[in-house]
């Protein structure tokens, strides 16, 4: 049974030419990590904020365990059952991490023990530091702890690792895996395909306010690609790029091919230097490019 269900969600802003979210429907079963993927401006955050209950949809509705989250008593109950980490949130400045945790804890009727949160989110080293003086990664861990403070069934993470360095990003992924292991349902938005691949059991790819592909990452790739990708320096393949179907990706050019052996044979016959050649399986990045014709980060 679906834990959360989005039905025909639409969000319209008064002066915008098109809908920010334009008819999005999906359901998320309990206990999985669901990812909303897409470039900036695709409508991920708007969608997730409607799911969180902090933004009212212009049309459509969100159901939690079969009940609408938009009305009266169930809205209040829903607020107590979810945990939210917004994309950018300031904390009360001049307060330490511990004071911020206690402040947020005081706002909820039922909370998770402070020591446990500190351990789960690894806040030990900077507990008594002013929140102003935290690094990006530390800050995200504090915000995650606040999202978990009411021991929620569902945790929303809106681009939690944007702007973090690779090491901090990997550390954060570890925390998210820990939350999944506790049996919580996680809804994540990201524009890092690698992050979705690492963490998500199921994803929806969004572009221009609509879902353009939906399914587990491995299935999606298998469904859309029977090919592998051959990479070679652009300068090297320029003479045969058009004939063989290389796509210029800047420094490197890529060739998608269902038959790697045949393609390599053809390249060898053309006499170019194959020393820098690399073969890789297709990624969600390639999938996005294939579906939209656009680069994900464009």
């Amino acid at each position: 049974m679906a834990l959360i269900e989005a039905r025909g969600l639409v969000k319209t802003y008064p002066k915008a030419k098109s809908n920010a979210v334009d008819g999005v429907s999906f359901s998320v079963p309990a206990g999985i990590c669901f990812g909303l993927l897409g470039p900036n401006g695709a409508g991920k955050s708007t969608t997730v904020e409607m799911l969180e209950g902090v933004m009212r949809p212009s049309a459509g509705e969100v159901l939690f365990k079969g009940e609408t989250i938009h009305a009266g008593a169930s809205a209040q109950r829903y607020r107590d059952t979810v945990g939210i980490q917004f994309q950018s949130t300031a904390l009360q400045e001049f307060l330490t991490v511990r004071e911020n945790l206690r402040f947020f804890a005081a706002l909820y009727p039922k909370t998770r023990p402070e020591q446990e949160l500190i351990r789960v989110c690894r806040l030990e080293e900077f507990l008594d530091r002013d929140t102003k003086k935290l690094s990006g990664g530390q800050r995200q861990r504090v915000l995650l702890a606040i999202a978990l403070i009411n021991d929620p069934e569902v945790v929303f993470l809106d681009e939690p690792t944007t702007g973090l360095d690779p090491q901090a990003r990997r550390n954060f992924w570890e925390l998210v895996r820990g939350i999944k292991a506790e049996g919580k349902t996680v809804l994540l938005t990201t524009h890092y395909m690698e992050e979705a691949d690492e963490l998500c059991d199921d994803i929806a790819i969004m572009d221009h306010g609509r879902i353009i592909a939906r399914g587990p990452p491995k299935h999606l790739l298998a469904e859309h690609f029977r090919e592998s990708v051959i990479e070679l320096p652009t300068a090297l393949v320029r003479p045969l790029a058009a004939r063989m179907g290389f796509i210029d990706r800047g420094e490197l050019s890529e060739l998608s091919t269902p038959d790697v052996a045949a393609s390599i044979a053809a390249l060898r016959d053309s006499g170019i230097d194959l020393a820098p050649l690399r073969i890789r399986p297709p990624t969600l990045e390639d999938l996005f490019l294939k579906l939209t014709g656009n680069d994900l980060r464009a």
């Binding site: 969180e52 902090v54 947020f104 005081a106 706002l107």
Partner: protein
């Protein structure tokens, strides 16, 4: 209203304020500097612009035809209906000299350097010889008159910006959005902000008052309790005014502009530095719209005249301030939005 949540929010906001050392220091330093500055400036040589209250016989014009002194340059003359009122204003430094043409006398305040200069000008102007009189009753120094104004002005800035700017900053930074996702209600959030700001500005103002009093020895004729009550209600009304500004705005620049738009006219028109006696009627009328005007008139009545809470001089402004408070709170609370959406 959940008391635990309200207390947590009030505590968090108050800690933030108290730990922001630079802002807190400024809250104390700014009024001290202003009051000290004024005490120093006005103990020096007289100012070039003078204000003279003239009591005219019925039908007489406010021109040199009534007395040649009325043609003096750099002096603002205005008609005052009664001699007693004019004399009180001299004693209070609201005017520099009173010219009573109904009984051929003039009144000066020996505490005022401006009065001495005007007296010399008056003697040099010729015309009917006038009898000299000194303002009756207790005469006050200019600083006694200006200090409540300066403290009130500081209170106004602290109240308006402390609420208005802070809530807009919270909204812009996404902090309000985060709070909205918790069980904290809008009413709890607003009341916590009001309480925290009211308590903190009151304490800061009290400390500054005591600090200034230690070296300026303010005149205090009335009760401290009445002054405290008037200060609390006056501050609350201006805090609520800040709440109205901050109810929906998401840009700190816009909030800053709106707050300046409110505070500057208040600073100039509420009688902080000089009285509005003799100002155009429209200006005097506009001044009645500002809470600061009423706060200052009640505070001065208590400090300078020893007026009690029940007297009209205190009760009328107090009632106006209560009405302002109720109106602004209602507007602010109804208009309040957590986020832009």
């Amino acid at each position: 209203m959940n008391f635990k949540r309200l207390a947590a929010m009030t505590w968090a906001r108050s800690l933030e304020f108290l730990r922001d050392r630079s802002a807190l220091g400024w809250n104390f330093a700014f009024p001290l500097l202003l009051v000290a500055g004024f005490a120093w400036i006005f103990s020096g040589p007289g100012q070039p612009l003078f204000k003279v209250a003239v009591v005219l016989p019925p039908g007489a014009p406010l021109t040199a035809a009534s007395h040649p002194f009325l043609a003096a340059p750099a002096v603002q003359f205005y008609a005052e209906p009664t001699a007693t009122e004019a004399e009180t204003k001299v004693a209070r430094h609201r005017v520099d000299l009173a010219l009573d043409l109904t009984s051929a006398r003039y009144v000066i305040n020996p505490e005022s350097q401006k009065g001495e200069v005007l007296e010399a000008m008056l003697r040099g102007a010729g015309g009917t010889p006038l009898q000299r009189a000194e303002a009756a009753g207790t005469r006050i120094r200019y600083v006694d008159w200006a200090a409540p104004g300066v403290l009130g002005m500081n209170l106004m800035f602290s109240c308006l910006f402390g609420i208005g700017y802070v809530i807009v900053r919270y909204r812009k930074s996404g902090y309000l959005k985060r709070l909205n996702a918790t069980p904290l209600t809008a009413a709890e959030f607003i009341v916590a902000q009001l309480l925290s700001r009211l308590a903190l500005t009151f304490v800061v103002t009290a400390v500054v008052f005591v600090g200034c009093d230690a070296f300026l020895h303010f005149k205090m004729e009335g009760s401290y309790l009445a002054l405290a009550l008037v200060t609390l209600v006056g501050s609350y009304s201006m805090i609520a005014m800040g709440l109205v500004i901050s109810a929906r705005v998401t840009s700190e620049e816009l909030a800053g502009g709106l707050l300046n738009l409110l505070s500057w006219p208040m600073m100039v028109l509420s009688g902080v530095f000089f009285s509005l006696d003799g100002a155009p009627a429209a200006v005097q009328w506009a001044a009645q719209l500002f809470p600061l005007t009423h706060l200052l008139s009640a505070a001065r009545a208590i400090m300078l005249d020893g007026a009690g809470l029940a007297s009209a001089a205190v009760m009328t402004p107090l009632l106006v301030l209560l009405a302002c408070s109720a109106l602004f709170t209602l507007l602010g609370a109804l208009g309040f939005r957590w986020t832009q959406d």
